[in-house]
Symmetry: C2
Subunit: 687 residues, 2 copies
Amino acid sequence: MRFFFSFSFSLFFFFFFFFFFSTSALSSSSNHPLDPLTPSEIQKVTSIIQATSSLAKLHNFTFHYVGLDEPDKPELLSWHSHPASRPKPPRRAFVMARAQRKAHEFVIDLDRGSVASHDIYNGIGYPPVSFEEQNAAAALPLSHPPFIESVKKRGLDVALVVCSAYPAAWFGETNAPKRRQTRLLCFYRGETENLYVMPLEGISFLVDLDEMKIIDYADRFVVPVPTSDGTDYRASKQKPPFGPSTKPVKMVQPQGTSLVVQGHTIRWANWNFHLGFDFRAGPVLSLASIYDPEKHKFRNVLYKARVSELFVPYMDPTEEWYYRAYFDAGEYGFGQCTVPLEPQNDCPETAVFMDAYYAGLNGQPVKIENAVCIFERATGHASWRHTELSIPDKVVREVRPETTLVVRSASVIGNYDYIIDWEFKMGGSIKVRVGLSGVVQVKAVDYTHKDQMKEDAYGTILAENTIGVHHDHFLTFYLDLDVDGSDNSFVKMKMQPMRTDGEFPRKSYWTAVEETAKTEADARIALGGSAADLVVTNPNKKTKVGNHHGYRLISGPPAASLLSDDDFPQKRAAFTKHQVWVTPYNRSEQWAAGMYTDQSRGEDTLDVWSRRNREIENKDIVLWYVMGFHHIPCQEDFPIMPTLSGGFELRPTNFFEYNPILKTKPPHLEHQLNNHTALSTGGVFHP
Amino acid sequence: MRFFFSFSFSLFFFFFFFFFFSTSALSSSSNHPLDPLTPSEIQKVTSIIQATSSLAKLHNFTFHYVGLDEPDKPELLSWHSHPASRPKPPRRAFVMARAQRKAHEFVIDLDRGSVASHDIYNGIGYPPVSFEEQNAAAALPLSHPPFIESVKKRGLDVALVVCSAYPAAWFGETNAPKRRQTRLLCFYRGETENLYVMPLEGISFLVDLDEMKIIDYADRFVVPVPTSDGTDYRASKQKPPFGPSTKPVKMVQPQGTSLVVQGHTIRWANWNFHLGFDFRAGPVLSLASIYDPEKHKFRNVLYKARVSELFVPYMDPTEEWYYRAYFDAGEYGFGQCTVPLEPQNDCPETAVFMDAYYAGLNGQPVKIENAVCIFERATGHASWRHTELSIPDKVVREVRPETTLVVRSASVIGNYDYIIDWEFKMGGSIKVRVGLSGVVQVKAVDYTHKDQMKEDAYGTILAENTIGVHHDHFLTFYLDLDVDGSDNSFVKMKMQPMRTDGEFPRKSYWTAVEETAKTEADARIALGGSAADLVVTNPNKKTKVGNHHGYRLISGPPAASLLSDDDFPQKRAAFTKHQVWVTPYNRSEQWAAGMYTDQSRGEDTLDVWSRRNREIENKDIVLWYVMGFHHIPCQEDFPIMPTLSGGFELRPTNFFEYNPILKTKPPHLEHQLNNHTALSTGGVFHP
């Protein structure tokens, strides 16, 4: 049995003693400038602020984001290209804090041990809500007499009620700044730990987070709490008849691993990249480059890639539900919500794990054990194959089985589980796969059968008294591709239908018309219309035969938000009406729903930035991809949802001179290969 | 080293002696009525025709299709529901043959050893072209003096020329019946076995297949044959620098397999299905049902699923290329083109293999060894997971690693390799994945650099003198779902944007509007427009809470043919303008491009049938899905293409009362499960 480290109110504080670190240790050359803050660095940040700022001595000084203040991109790239001779960028932290109802931003110079800058943010919106605040807010109802009355009225035991905090959003209120608020939802544990399937419907809360008190409470109606029967998903609670089972299939590596993890630098096969972690984003992939044996060097593919935002609007407009349109990265911290992965089950036997750290509300480091796993995956597919039957008296057959490298994390936002995979292929592709699982948010209702439903229930009846409410998921990915350098263009290779002039019997065909996006408007794309390949190219680099080096975005089935443009959640998530966006690189444009997402008003979004319509041709550009799911729940999603997956691929196109895995030998010839080249030694390169 | 059985002109004749079988053996009750014809049955069919038909004694009597004449669906279902008490459907074969330039159709009664019917087909189009004919035609140029002259003119050695037959198609010729023809393409082997990258450009052939002679030859222009340097894909021919390599990752089953193969019946976990094989389709999945532990029975999901047609139009309208718009199932036989899979590389270590048989031109059985593999796949993903952090002082975590069952085959149509996976999930999903690999069809050109290209080259320059021509792939799947019975409806669950009336702060949402397709026109869908879930439901069966049982189609990114409707290839493939079609079940509507696809004129296609606009509500219906790829080749696709994949999923929606894998225990609790239920005994059920 695995050891589950105990989360006290979902948190485990990981205390480091101050004397375990020193300034010199932190700036030691063994660290990579993109490494996430270590626990000791987090604590040092806190100490510096507490030692130098009078505000920090106030009892209500709270930390909402403590993360690496990434070096300027040119500075980092300069160092990265010649790490031995160029100066290492300074090590800095960025802090979002609050004190006396004001938002404070600090940049901390960790090398010097000083505050490099301190600003007060007076704009709209709030920093992410910490787990501690969520838990404190969630505890309020249990001592709120009107709520206790409501519980009794429903014939329930208040000791079995669990509440949870959900963002309050913004619905057109014009008083600025609005108070920092949260909503609460309460559930009943009953005989199940699957609390989400037993909501206390008809009840609304509004909490002032700064005062940490309930400022509005309503109990509009009573409907039965659905039964707990059959809703617990724990293996230990299952009764026959059991579900199907099979004997295990395991992945093994009889000759050992080809993966090399040095700190946060990952080397595998022809890939080399840095794997960081951020409170808002979860895993951060940086400086991914791929070895080109023809050019005898690693070539840049992407500078940085990570989740930027999630938008999850529910489609019930009624009093207790209308505000449910969540921004999981900006409001909750997709990294804060990252959960420990379970060896064997969340990741195959071959996986290695990495812990992650973030700062709690008090600025102390919090550890997420096994936050990320990295494993080589036998996909079961061929990376390429051909059987040649046309040559008389001869059959030629060559097949290459595929192994890939997967970087996985899972973030749990209350009821929902998001599994994010970044998969690296030796052919140069980076595939992103998102798995949706967990528990769908349900609404308790009076009726027990579809026939009783006379009006729109805003969802599917999943069980007696239980509606699975319609909703969407939009995951926005920040993809700062640097294809062979930072200056890139975004090219639409349009498949243009053509008519012939009658010279030949064929009347029609399509041809590829290359259209380079000049400004941001040209690259704002709602997929599903005219056919086109979308490529980030380097207009300054060509293959021998003259094609521009590029990486293509292969999207999944497109889904766009169906909310009205004038609706408040949609204003905040205006970027979910298109699947593809390209912006010029701008250090301050990282979070699609803005830096201060909680209760934001849509004034600082990807959509707003893009409307400036800046030039993006032959510039350092960022590709944004919005992956969408419309979800009409079904009974199979209840009481826990089989993983639904989607994804996209970044695939080299004229980046290499030829198929980069042409010369990859099949396993049975591997020995011969080993005698010839350094590329066989476990994927370790020393460029 | 594996034994490659020798294909003499791509074929290995598998001779059975007549005395090895008898009529009684063939009708033995151990065979399933949907089993493909055995080698002895194929030979018996031939013998019966040769013994009873005067035509068969003619020297030019040729077999073009010998396959199972599937029992009538009601008859088969009647037997299937009560195999012990109902009569087994008679065992019949369907034969497409040719003699004296006429097409003959036979139904052979294998039980009685007689011809049940014999018809002459006088319509448009021809049966599939056999490998023997393709090879005979491909040999013609080597003794055709004008071609030999052309080869010499190019300074090449005729001994290193390899030709190959490609369908002649139809381009508006009105003489009926047009002669049965084929085109030829010739390539140079040079120093490479990758002949497709060295085409002899500028040359056209037209061959009369019945007379087996060249009836038209043209050599319009000479361009250099591209170099063979670096084009051989054989491992043994590679020189440093080699591609990336890693240590192997293997799938193992330390406790053995959960797969049970009895003849052609496959049982695994909660699934039970029949796996057949057909000359035109390749693998055929039938009678797939899934065990429902709540109902204590297997429940029907699909009656039959298979590839129906592929349409692969190239986008070069010039003289030597315009006719290249292939129908790989109807013209070539996607089953005939199925190639032996390579253990370890095409399929994981855990795979079991099945051979397949078809009839050669002379009616004798031809064996395809290892034509299909079946394996349990550790996907590396979680089939569901949740971590619960909201309960004070407690963490609940449950994760189920996913194992699936894959049925795989690969068909090689000249240069291209199609890998088709049918993947069964314990959650009830059937996922289809198509992998495209092999060699892209290239055109030889004068120029060696993109800068020299002044007009449309109809493709991408991939190497010196080499254009990868733009093309599409459209794979059409025949999906005869029988969701809990044969009478089903097709329902569009439309996501309808709605405005609120101002009662609540939210201004908009979407709701699900259920629209049942009444006739075929309602179910002809070009995806990418308005959002909708597409569901095959059983309007006569409901869950306890009143939802109709259903299976949902989750499509991939949509792609439609961009050819003009009045263009000849498009008329023949009119069904590629929509991705989804639903027809009422009709025994004669199996092949989307018609029964006689070769040189067809679009008179017998899915599009034509659908235009009859028949009623499809609460009927036995067939879902057709067209998976499309537009392909602008890139240098990475050369000289052999890294697998590009696409897919779709059939996923239960309100088919089960709840998540059918809720009660599937994680591996470490498997032992406890084994003590409780028969469902653990290796997936073998005895319903």
